[in-house]
């Protein structure tokens, strides 16, 4: 272990960057300046930032967000709505009772299964064996995501919620929708928490929003599948 040579807490990299940009609050700016005069370690870190000459690659042309598309809501007979709804609630209750851990809970509103306009299928590959729509995963299992969505070119985003984390293992894709279309790429699941794999078509919320608000940031049209870790 290398001991810090600072007399107090070292100035964080974030504060050093803000100092360089002149974005620290007035009082803090002077404080950092004094610290840098006295602490050779932090002064060296600050020099590293000041002398660093990064040439940023130009950003690609930014394509404006596509027009928001929402699946049309159809009026359905009461029986047709109530029976599947009760079944879905029952499934959700069972799923929640199985998958709930001290740090993970899945809002029932964010759960949905095949039957609507958007359907999601997961294909698991383990040691060369392929399973369709499995319920669980072992550390290192590979998954492909297949979607059935109304015809047309559509943006598809896959978000995985696990523990109190959300991540995006597949690059956002623009798909020619239809039946059982594969989202390009594959993802590997690991960890001890259930993974909730959610697919959003056409109306993906900002990733920063999903990071901040979790499952509640998903639009109603999102479809999620729950995978539980297997022993």
């Amino acid at each position: 272990m290398t001991a810090c040579q600072c007399t107090g807490a070292p100035v964080s990299w974030l504060a050093l960057e803000q100092y360089r940009l002149g974005e620290l609050p007035a009082g803090r700016q002077g404080e950092v300046e004094r610290h840098l005069r006295e602490c050779s370690e932090c002064a060296a870190a600050a020099d590293e930032i000041i002398n660093d000459s990064i040439v940023l690659k130009p950003l690609p042309e930014i394509v404006p967000q596509p027009v928001v598309f929402r699946f049309p809501r159809r009026a359905k007979p009461v029986v047709a709505v109530v029976v599947p709804a009760l079944a879905a609630v029952a499934l959700a209750v069972v799923a929640l009772s199985i998958f709930r851990t001290p740090e993970t809970s899945v809002p029932a509103a964010a759960m949905s299964w095949k039957g609507g306009e958007l359907a999601v299928s997961l294909v698991r590959e383990r040691d060369g064996l392929v399973s369709h729509d499995p319920d669980g995963f072992l550390d290192g299992d590979r998954f492909r995501v297949e979607v059935t969505c109304p015809p047309g070119d559509r943006d598809v985003e896959v978000a995985v919620f696990q523990g109190d984390d959300v991540y995006f293992p597949l690059d956002p894709a623009r798909l020619a929708c239809g039946n059982g279309i594969s989202v390009p790429g594959a993802m590997v699941l690991s960890g001890v928490d259930p993974a909730i794999v959610c697919v959003v078509v056409d109306d993906p919320p900002a990733r920063s929003r999903l990071h901040r608000d979790g499952l509640s940031a998903l639009p109603e049209s999102a479809v999620c599948r729950v995978l539980t870790p297997l022993e």
Partner: protein
């Protein structure tokens, strides 16, 4: 100056420190700004972008296919500068820690061990309570100890409250 030119270099340094690869850092920073600009979001400050890029880097590390490639190229870059009075967590150890820690702990690990933040700074940035941060740091130190077979007391001695 647009936000990419203003904050891009700081985020490049941060992501390179975490990932050890300039190329991967470039991909993540570009991806972040493309997403923001596509949404028309330009009213963001450096702390917000620091947090967003931390989460992106952590997600990137969790993808094992990418991770193995990162490990192959890692030897080309030096490990990050170590200033905090904590056990040194190099990038190789970080790879192992992302597997065993929960989401909050992973984030706190980066802010404390890679970005050299105090607990107060982490609390300001994340909105997590001091109590949560202290608890998670305890778990992190324990995980570091288990992965390095170090004596817990040795790690605790160096740990700043």
């Amino acid at each position: 100056m647009d936000i990419y030119q203003r904050y891009g270099p700081a985020l490049m340094r941060k992501c390179t420190r975490m990932l050890g690869s300039v190329q991967d850092a470039e991909d993540i920073v570009q991806g972040l700004f493309v997403d923001l600009l596509r949404k028309g979001t330009t009213d963001v400050d450096l702390p917000y972008l620091y947090r967003a890029s931390t989460n992106r880097c952590l997600n990137y590390l969790r993808d094992r296919r990418r991770r193995s490639r990162i490990l192959e190229t890692r030897s080309l870059t030096e490990d990050h500068r170590h200033r905090v009075d904590e056990p040194h967590v190099g990038r190789d150890l970080l790879d192992k820690l992302v597997d065993v820690l929960d989401g909050k702990s992973r984030e706190i690990l980066i802010y404390r061990f890679f970005d050299d933040m105090t607990q107060d700074e982490i609390a300001d940035l994340t909105g997590y309570s001091r109590k949560t941060i202290g608890k998670k740091l305890g778990l992190i130190r324990q995980a570091v100890c288990e992965l390095t077979n170090a004596e817990p007391s040795a790690l605790q001695e160096g740990a700043r409250p």
